[in-house]
């Protein structure tokens, strides 16, 4: 019976072939470790965000007059509305935490190297889309931080020489941040950007299944195959990986719901307290701080305090900040190392990767506190070390001494 149903489908749709290609016969390296969970968990969070987002949409009002009140309505009057909203805000933070881990995994094990360059570029694109989603979503509650975040971030466009001001007016649709701006950011957040994100994630996974997963040793598992052509150091994704992923999802959800139920504000990091105040276009909050997941780039923006080559400090800050996000896409072409994994790379690669991590965290801290001359200097120094990881990579990755890479994966 089941066979007959499957046959009926297979004559009309490549159903069995798709299941085999992506699940039961997808070869996953046997030495994948805990870092490889982030990807699966990102898909889980994507589903959480879509579900909670659609439900929020049912009660949210996208007008300057009604937005703030409609959030209060969701929080107080809609049954379980507060859970749905906290699910969405916690999901936003989880999304970024996981994508940073996921990106770091790729940097550590050289997952961006040939033949996975396009896979990396697609992944970077999902990160950029996520940043745009985070920003547009942040504006929707129309609290003080929503309003002034929109003011600051959109003003960056106005710093572009020559046509910046006209472009800014065009983007805002008004001469100031207003309900008109809110409406268009709303359209982006609930339709355009999620559609694009789902499409890019889909292609990202297709590309992954074309080139195959990398592994902590960075060795090509397809080199040694058994007599059926199955790579020796792999196991089928289903059921083996799916089963332990389910366990990991369970553990992840314990943390997720703990924040969602008991610490929905996350100490002011998941939901910033200033945003409990309705937007006031005449009063800037004492401290403007972006969400924690943007703070490293915000610190870079503030670090540029001097004009250069006839360009204003404001525009240069914008350029440096954008470059901090954009530079990741160049990694496959910056890395000249003959080996993939950090395990076998030389001492310089290890040093610069560690320096990058330190810079990222220090900038993240500096971006979350008010600026003083000392902190500005620190931000300038760590902006330089952040970019040193990328711009010096063609040299240190080429001339350092690497360890020999084994033929097969190691399980130690």
């Amino acid at each position: 019976m089941v066979t007959r149903i499957m046959n009926w489908f297979d004559d009309r749709l490549p159903l069995t072939a798709t299941i085999e290609r992506h699940l039961t016969k997808y070869p996953a390296p046997i030495n994948m470790n805990i870092w490889y969970l982030a990807g699966v968990l990102l898909v889980v969070v994507l589903v959480i965000q879509l579900a909670s987002g659609i439900w929020l949409l049912m009660n949210y009002e996208a007008t300057a007059e009604g937005a703030f009140a409609s959030i209060q309505y969701i929080m107080r009057d809609v049954e379980y509305g507060y859970i749905i909203r906290y699910m969405h805000t916690t999901g936003a933070s989880a999304f970024f935490a996981l994508i940073y881990l996921h990106m770091f995994r790729g940097m550590m094990y050289g997952s961006y190297q040939k033949p996975r360059e396009l896979l990396w570029v697609l992944g970077w694109l999902t990160y950029v889309l996520l940043c745009a989603l985070g920003f547009t979503g942040y504006v929707l509650p129309w609290g003080q931080m929503s309003f002034w975040a929109a003011q600051v971030i959109l003003s960056l466009v106005g710093s572009i020489p020559v046509f910046g001001e006209e472009l800014l007016t065009w983007i805002r649709g008004d001469y100031l941040i207003s309900g008109i701006t809110l409406n268009r950011l709303f359209a982006f957040h609930v339709v355009l950007l999620p559609l694009a994100l789902i499409a890019v994630v889909f292609v990202h996974i297709l590309a992954l299944h074309e080139v195959g997963s990398n592994n902590p040793d960075g060795v090509d598992v397809k080199k040694f195959k058994d007599e059926d052509g199955v790579p020796l150091d792999t196991k089928p994704f289903f059921p083996y990986d799916v089963m332990h992923d389910l366990y990991a999802i369970g553990v992840f959800l314990i943390f997720f719901v703990t924040i969602m139920f008991f610490y929905p504000d996350g100490g002011g990091y998941v939901i910033e307290y200033v945003n409990y105040e309705a937007a006031d276009n005449l009063k800037t909050p004492e401290h403007i701080v972006p969400s924690w997941y943007y703070t490293p780039f915000y610190a870079m923006l503030r670090a540029v305090t001097f004009p250069l080559f006839g360009l204003s400090a404001k525009f240069l800050g914008f350029v440096v900040m954008a470059a901090g996000i954009a530079i990741f896409v160049a990694l496959p072409w910056l890395d000249r190392s003959p080996v993939k994994s950090i395990k076998y790379k030389g001492i310089y690669s290890k040093f610069f990767l560690a320096l990058f991590v330190v810079s990222f965290f220090v900038l993240g801290y500096l971006g979350s506190v008010t600026s003083t001359p000392g902190r500005t200097l620190a931000a300038q120094i760590f902006t330089v070390t952040y970019f040193a990881y990328f711009f010096l990579m063609p040299f240190y990755s080429k001339y350092e001494k690497c360890k020999p890479v084994p033929d097969r994966v190691s399980l130690s």
Partner: protein, 198 residues
């Protein structure tokens, strides 16, 4: 089997070119409403009426906030002391003579005001648009040890003096903008119009 090449390759090429060109023109035309709809609507354009402020109750050293076109405008009445010491920090300012055109010609002077002693400044930081905070006190403050009074932007630490002139070495590139304004009488300030320029 290779398909036979078309009998008239030149004609094919021309037809493909012409079709693509017409298609591109069509797409460009279809893009017009999508791009134009992003511009400020007629209603948004009409919302820029002048603002009226009563400054009769403004005491020296005090500031009021007036809303004009949805943005805050600071109206400050300077104390005798701050008028006298307006040039004390001159060497720390980036554009002390207001050479950058962010004020009407009648405010291009030492006090950057139409009427000495009363500053009318757009409270939109020339960096990224936050509203700088008013710190009239002199001396030591959190962010400066020789403060001469003025405005401090909480977002990125830009500093301006009481005339709205920007300090050097801060993120903001320009002095605070002076919006068009005039004094209808001693007590009534109109923001948004130049009034009689004579």
């Amino acid at each position: 089997m290779q398909p036979k090449s078309p009998p008239n390759p030149g004609r094919r090429k021309f037809l493909i070119g012409a079709t693509s060109a017409v298609g591109a023109v069509g797409i460009a035309g279809a893009a017009v409403p999508f791009i134009s709809a992003f511009n400020p609507s007629a209603a948004a354009e009409a919302a820029g009426a002048p603002a009226v402020a009563d400054i009769s109750k403004l005491a020296p050293g005090e500031m009021i906030i007036v809303e004009w076109r949805g943005t805050p405008i600071y109206v400050v009445k300077h104390s005798e002391e701050s008028i006298n010491e307006i040039d004390k920090n001159l060497e720390r300012l980036a554009d002390p003579n207001s050479d950058t055109e962010v004020q009407p010609s009648y405010a291009k002077n030492k006090y950057r005001s139409r009427k000495p002693g009363i500053s009318v400044l757009s409270a939109v930081c020339t960096h990224l648009g936050c509203a700088p905070k008013y710190y009239p006190q002199l001396g030591v403050v959190d962010f400066d040890s020789e403060w001469q009074g003025g405005f401090f932007c909480p977002c990125h630490g830009s500093k301006f003096d009481l005339a709205g002139r920007v300090y050097a070495g801060v993120p903001a590139p320009d002095n605070l903008t002076v919006p068009p304004h005039y004094f209808k009488s001693d007590d009534v300030l109109i923001i948004g119009e130049d009034g009689d320029l004579a």
